[in-house]
Amino acid sequence: MALAIEQPTTSATRPARRLQLRQLGQRWLPWLVPVLLIGVWQLSATLGWISARVLPAPSTILQTTWDLLLHHNLLGDIAISTRRALVGLAIGGGLGFGFGLLNGTFAISEQLFDSSFQMIRNIPHLALLPLVILWFGIGETARLFLVAFGVFFPLYLNTYHGVRSIDPKLREMGIVYGLSKWGLFRHIIFPGALPSILVGLRHALGVMWLTLIVAESLASNAGIGHLTMNAREFMQTDVLVMGIVIYALLGKLADTIARLIERRSLRWQVGA
């Protein structure tokens, strides 16, 4: 949001100034509650109302983060976690997208796969964790499998739904106007399903981080989860809280990127 509010050269009329104030308010109001909370937290920690064992002050956590960045390759851990998340998303999300298109387009494929998917979908995927460890051990494969499994369903369901809900009249129009199968997909089916696919993607991003946190906490030799588990062993509450904050920031970042993609590719909906 690099929206600079220009100062008018002549003295602003009252309605204009009120508008500026409102714009300022809309921009900064969402930050008010978090900033206040952090302020109260810092104050309570400084005054000794909460013990540093339970919840260290924000300033301490910042200090710890700085130390870890400089001396313990925190960025490396973040990179490892992010890579795991993205590889899992690419595998599971890719499969979900592919099957969604397939089952949305071909009745045979739908009859073959859809009811099975709907059945498996009802298993909470984190409940598979013990089984996954049994199958794959506690290595990278187990973590990627869990993430891929988790993100498969939101993308599958939403892609499938998106393809199915395209107006058959538009498809017929495409056929009359001589579009090939590929043309129908490129001009009508994919863009028509895109809003729904993007909803699925945002949902999948949430599942992705959640699954990764659980998978990394249980068994890992690197990554944010590994860091926080170690911290628990040594009672380093500051590192623990830092890990949680990093997860939150990564999740927020992913969601922001998804929203940017959404806004960019769905401009036609607002007609601007």
Partner: protein, 251 residues
């Protein structure tokens, strides 16, 4: 630029859906460049006839001949304009027109938009268009590839009366300029008389009336001849009961 329209022959054409006869033994020869209007009460099968000619449905019996060769599958000569504009909301106005053009040719699309008076909206999204503009865009898309057959399925039914007259005029103008064969399905008797060389009335699954209109173009809707033809057609539709008797309800 006068492009020759296609010659159409409907030979013993019949269509039944789930054992219900929709159309039965339709025989008709349409000359290249002729403007045909098809009227009839709703549900009489006029849209089915259009879909048969477009190749969107297979006939149960008989055949459609295009320049004397039988039609198999989709009609390659035809462009269809539907009652609902069927625009792609995720493509800009000009891209919607370019959809049916080889290589998504932008110049040709802009040319077609210019012909329907929509050139200044070329880069807008379809969701911002009014009902009349949407049908204008659909018309531009239909004529962009200079088709030899234009099929119009009640394209102005949802428009307000003034916009409808404007659109009818536009279609007539384009038809005269391009010389395509045109088949217009409509429930508006006046629209049929104003535009067509021949009006077909479909009733009881077949062509009940095949009436050439000899009025000079552009046709005056207020003229006595126009009114006489309208009376004739309405008489054919409603039979002996026309003009419909007015009774005061509850008297």
């Amino acid at each position: 630029m006068s492009i020759r329209g296609v010659e159409l022959g409907l030979r013993g054409l019949g269509k039944a859906i789930a054992n219900r006869t929709i159309l039965h033994d339709i025989n008709l020869e349409i000359k290249p460049g002729e403007f045909i209007a098809v009227i009839g009460k709703s549900g009489c099968g006029k849209t089915t006839l259009l879909r048969l000619i477009a190749g969107l449905t297979e006939p149960t019996i008989g055949q459609v001949a295009l320049d004397d060769s039988p039609l198999d599958g989709l009609n390659p000569a035809a462009r269809v304009m539907f009652q609902d504009a069927r625009l792609l909301p995720w493509k800009r106005v000009w891209e919607n027109v370019a959809l049916g053009l080889p290589g998504l040719n932008a110049d040709q699309a802009l040319q077609a938009l210019h012909q329907v008076g929509l050139a200044d909206r070329a880069y807008d999204w379809p969701l911002g268009l009014s009902g009349g503009e949407r049908q204008r865009l659909a018309l531009a898309r239909a004529i962009a590839n200079t088709p030899s057959l234009l099929l119009l399925d009640e394209p102005f039914g949802a428009l307000d009366a003034l916009t409808r007259i404007e659109m009818q005029h536009l279609v007539e103008q384009l038809w005269r300029a391009q010389g395509f064969t045109a088949i217009l399905v409509t429930h508006d008797v006046e629209e049929a008389i104003a535009l067509a060389d021949r009006v077909l009335l479909i009733q009881n699954q077949h062509i009940a009336l095949n009436l050439p209109i000899h009025l000079p173009r552009s046709r005056q809707r207020g003229s006595a001849e126009f009114a006489a033809i309208k009376d004739q057609l309405l008489g054919a539709i409603f039979g002996a009961g026309y003009p419909l008797a007015t009774r005061v309800v509850g008297a």
